[in-house]
Structure formats: C-alpha cells, structure tokens
C-alpha cells in the first residue's frame, strides 16, 4: 500500500517510530495522509473543529530533517505521532473556541503548556477537537458547532465533554488526543468510545493555556488506543510548569512498570459503587469480569469503603459552577469574544453578548455559581462543599492504606442516543462514578474492556490511583490490556473496513482563519509556553 493511503492515525506510537526509523515512510507522508484521512472521514464523526495543516507540515519537516540527520532519537517520544487537542487548549495562531459561539472567531496569541510539550515531544498537530461548550456536558451535544458522533454508532453520543478527543482516537483520526477532565470529561467519553483515557492526579499536568472550567478540578490528560501510548503521552506533558502554580514537579516515567503485571498488587473494589442505583447490568458485569481477570493475573482484590463518596456529586455541582461562574466572567465582549452589535451602553452590550454568546448549559452553570457564592448562601453550600472535599480526600487516603489502586465503573451505562438524556440533573448522573476523583484530586483512567453484552457498545472500567501514584493505575491497565488487547479503531473506521462509515468533512483550516496573522512555527515560538 502506498504510504499516502496508509491510516497513520490508526497506528500506535511504536509502529510509527519504527516506520520512521526504518525510513519506511516520512513524517511529511504521515502529516499529509493524516489530514487527508480527516478530510475523508471526519464528516461522519465531527471530531474536529479545525485542522492545522501548516503547523503539521512544519513539524513534519523538522522531524524529517532530524531523521535525515540520523537524529530521530532527539525528536522526543512522540516523534511523528498524529496528535490533536481539545478546543479549550490554546495553540497560537489557531482558534480556541471551547465550542462556544462566544469564541467562534477567537484566534489565540499563545500556546498552552500541554500543547507545547506535546509538539516539543515530536507530535504532529492535526487540529482542534470538538467538545461540550466550555466543557459543560457529558455528550458534546452542547457544542455550538454541532455534536460529535460516536464512531461505534453514529446515532449515539461520544460522551463528553472531551467527546471530540475520544471520537478522534476511536475513529483512528489521531493516535493521541488531549482532553481535559473536570468531573469525568476524559474518562466518560473514553469509556463510551472504547479508548484508553487518562486523567492524571491534579497537578501532574500544567493547566496553563487550557481554558478553565473548574480550576480546582480541571486536569489535562491523553486519549490513546494503548496503555503504552497513553503513558508516553503522559511522559510528554507531565511536570512542573512555572506558569501554573498548582503544577508539581513530577519525574515519573509512566511507562516504567507497564510490563510488571499485577502480581502482588492490591486492588480495591467499592461495594457501594457496584450496588449503585442506575448502574446497568452490562457495565456491572464488565467491571466484575475485569476484577476476575486482575485476580487471575495475581492481584489481590480488597473491598474498600468510601463512605462519603455519595456526597461528591452535590459537592461537585457546588464547586464546579462556582469556579465556572468566576472563570467565565472574562467573556464580556471587551477584549475578545462575541459582541452583540449596536449597543450604546456597556450594560446592554454585556447582557446581550453573554446571552447570545453562551448556550443554555453555560448560562445555567454561571447563574448557579453566582447564586451559590452570594452572601448568606456561600455558607450553606460552598463552604460545606469544601469541607466535604476534605472528607472524601480522607476516604481515599484511608482506602489507599489498604490498596494500590481501585477498580470501579466509569459510567453507569454505555453511550446513549442523541437527545435521549435531556434533563440536566439526569445528565449530571452520568458522572456519578468519576466525580469524587476530581474532588479528591486523585488520578483516574478509563480502560476499555470490550463491548457490553446488551448494547454491544464499548465499556470502560475505571482504575483510580492515589495522588501522584498514577503509575499504579497504568500498571493495572496494562495487565488488563494483556487480556483484552489494545483498543481497536471503531469497526466502521478501521483501515480495512469493507465500507468505511466516513464521509467528507469540510473543515476550516487554521491558516485560512488567520489570514494575515503569521502563524508561529513550532512550540515555544510564542515565547510563553513551557519552562
């Protein structure tokens, strides 16, 4: 098969690196074929909001030059890997829309640290990915630019808020995609789309340049189709960033113990989670199956109790909106963003611009946060929610005295149909197993374990690490991968699919959008990102 027709984004990191090293194909071929594949197939999934052709080709040129000089090893662990970014991550010269009409025309003048580090590690940036508006949602249905579709069933949601990231990886339109997770926004779409999806411990990855939703909850992490690829991506993006006060000096090699197996590991199971109302039998069965496999591989299963976990949901729906209310105040039509035309007074302009620029869910969360922080109400909800956070953190700390890692469901169910969940409070329930991890700040990930018995759709199980012990969950995930195999590209998008589900996409390219603005070259060119 000619290189240009190869589905590079459907390959893994190791395969790409080997091909580059053997000069079987060039980085330029990877970039061009990847962009061609997105154009051909993304019309079906709508994972991408924008492609970044010029940045991709610039990066490919750099890598090819290095390969020609025999310096592939100097290119970083993601050399030549097709990567893409959730559209709440700034990349200088490209749009950062957060899937909101508010930022439809916003072109960022700077680059997020996680994006810069991915590109510095050799990743070929393909574009920006769809999401729920400002990450408020669990389905990408709140995107102002239309939802993404689940590559396993185009009638179903990919999950959210990082639905575009999950869909892109599941459809083989990116090898690695970055997402962000505030209450489950990496893990839940990872589960719905059947990809490995990692939310590291809060503080492992810099949040600088990632548009904030809940500042004390948000964390960036990768989607990939293998545990090793996800771990390599973690290696690229983790670590202290002088531009984010809450980032920490992490020097873990996340790939180090992937091959160790789980013999001797103590893995916790939370009985209350398994009995939770709303947990579907097919998901429950998959979690139990995974537990049995881990046990068979030599792990010791231990029942642990998280007595305050049920309060996590209400704490989250206090803290998240409060922080979001404040974080989204900057969208005021003054420095950037949508400005409703024709207003002679600023007050009218504010109200009309924010009414038109924000979708219903964003408006709801802003309003809720504004109410919860108001005088008198603060002491009823916000302060107790922070106290509950202490209790939940203590719960996890106690559990980790007994275990190295906890196994749990990710989502109570598999991917739902568009429009199927419309009530906001029902939608919030899809995060019931993921939220407490953000509240406590631990690492958590979704590991695909095949298809559910009833819906025949992907199911992920959640592995939860102690703070700054993210290598524990990756180790357990790698063991499960020996049983289930690496996550496949969704059948309809597989390179060998008899009849691909794709249809041509008409995507804007960043270079078109910013005519007259000189796009920066590669990472660091903006002079602001990274250490």
């Amino acid at each position: 098969m000619a290189a240009a027709e190869r589905a590079f984004p459907a390959m893994g990191v190791r395969e790409i690196r080997a091909g580059l090293a053997a000069r079987e194909f060039s980085a330029r071929e990877i970039a061009e074929a990847s962009l061609a594949r997105i154009r051909a197939l993304d019309g079906a999934t709508h994972a991408y909001l924008e492609t970044t052709e010029r940045l991709a080709l610039d990066q490919a040129e750099r890598i090819d030059a290095a390969v020609a000089a025999g310096e592939l090893s100097a290119c970083g662990p993601l050399a030549g890997v097709p990567v893409a970014f959730k559209d709440n991550m700034n990349l200088a010269g490209t749009h950062t829309t957060c899937s909101s009409a508010m930022l439809a025309n916003y072109v960022s003048p700077y680059t997020a640290t996680c994006v810069a580090r991915t590109i510095e590690a050799g990743g070929i940036p393909l574009g920006k990915l769809n999401m729920d508006e400002f990450a408020f949602g669990s389905s990408t249905e709140t995107s102002a630019f239309g939802p993404s579709r689940n590559p396993w069933d185009l009638e179903r949601v990919p999950g959210g808020s990082s639905g575009g990231s999950a869909a892109a990886v599941a459809a083989g339109l990116a090898t690695v995609a970055l997402g962000s997770d505030t209450g489950g926004s990496i893990r839940q779409p990872g589960s719905f789309c059947g990809t490995v999806a990692v939310k590291p411990t809060y503080g492992v990855v810099s949040r600088y340049g990632v548009v904030a939703f809940g500042s004390s909850l948000d964390q960036v992490g990768p989607f990939a189709r293998s545990v090793e690829d996800a771990a390599l991506a973690c290696n690229a993006i983790a670590g202290r960033d002088a531009l984010d006060c809450t980032s920490q000096d992490v020097r873990t090699d996340f790939t180090a113990n992937l091959a160790e197996g789980v013999r001797g590991m103590r893995i916790g199971v939370v009985p209350a989670f398994m009995e939770a109302q709303g947990l579907t039998s097919e998901v429950k069965a998959k979690v139990e199956e995974a537990a049995n496999h881990l046990s068979a591989l030599g792990a010791k299963l231990v029942e642990v109790d998280l007595p305050n976990a049920q309060a996590a949901m209400s704490a989250y729906y206090v803290l998240g909106p409060c922080e979001a209310f404040s974080n989204l105040a900057r969208f005021d039509s003054v420095r950037y963003g949508y400005r409703d035309p024709g207003h002679k007074d600023l007050g009218g302009q504010y109200e009309a611009s924010r009414a038109a620029g924000f979708g219903p869910e964003a408006r709801r969360r802003i309003m809720l946060g504004s109410y919860l922080l108001s005088a008198g109400v603060y002491d009823t909800y916000y302060y107790p929610a922070q106290q509950v956070r202490t209790l939940i953190t203590q719960d996890y700390a106690r559990a980790y005295e007994q275990v190295d890692c906890i196994l749990a469901p990710v989502s109570p169910r598999t991917a739902f149909r568009f429009g199927e969940v419309s009530d906001p409070t029902d939608m919030y329930l899809s995060d019931m197993f993921t939220i407490s991890i953000n509240i406590a700040g631990n690492g958590g990930m979704s590991m695909p374990v095949g298809l559910g018995a009833d819906t025949n759709l992907p199911v992920g199980v959640q592995l939860i690490s102690p703070q700054f012990k993210d290598e524990n969950m990756l180790r357990a995930a790698a063991a499960l991968e020996t049983v289930y195999g690496p996550a496949p590209v969704a059948p309809g998008f597989a390179p060998d699919a008899v009849e691909p589900l794709g249809r041509p996409a008409s995507l804007p390219d960043a270079a078109d959008a910013v005519a007259g603005v000189d796009l920066p070259g590669l990472a660091g060119a903006d002079g602001k990102a990274g250490e």
């Binding site: 209400s314 109200e351 209790l391």
Partner: protein, 103 residues
Amino acid sequence: MAQHLTERDVRGIAEYARIGLDEAEVAQMTADLNAIIDSLKPITEYDLAGVEPTFHPIGGLSNVMREDAEEPGFAQEVALANAPAAQDGCFLVPSILGEGGDR
C-alpha cells in the same frame, strides 16, 4: 420540589451575572435552578462540625512564587488582535454610565 428561588431572584442573579434573559428564559431558568439546588441537598445535611475545608485540592503546596523578572509580552497589535472594537491603541467600549459607576 422546593422553591429555593423565585423568578424575581433569578432576574437579580442574571443581572449580577450580566446575562440577559427574556421572560420565558427566566421561567425555564427558575425551574432548572430549583431542580439543581434541590439535588444539592446532601451537602446541607452533613455533620461537618470541626471539619476543615480543602480549598486547594493538593495539600502541602504553598508559597509558589516567581522572581521579579521581566518576560516578553505582546506587541500592541497582538494585544488588540481579538478586540471587537479598538481605537488609539485601546479597547473600545460603549458608555459605561449606569453601570454602578465606581467601586
């Protein structure tokens, strides 16, 4: 469902949050917020006496600061590149009066 907020309350919140809502939106928002606030009830029922709040999720981190050293910033045209309206190197906004004036 408990009536935590009236439509009048919601109008006040919208005014503070600077989001213009029409009558129908106020009614819908009032219903939505009341339902959500209802679901927050567990937080008000916990016995939290003596429990310290955790405002910053990762304990132990403190005194994170930078040295007082200049970093390159934006040229004026870059700063203004996304401005909906600009004039004389500044961001332009319509009349502020009636906005609560000073601070």
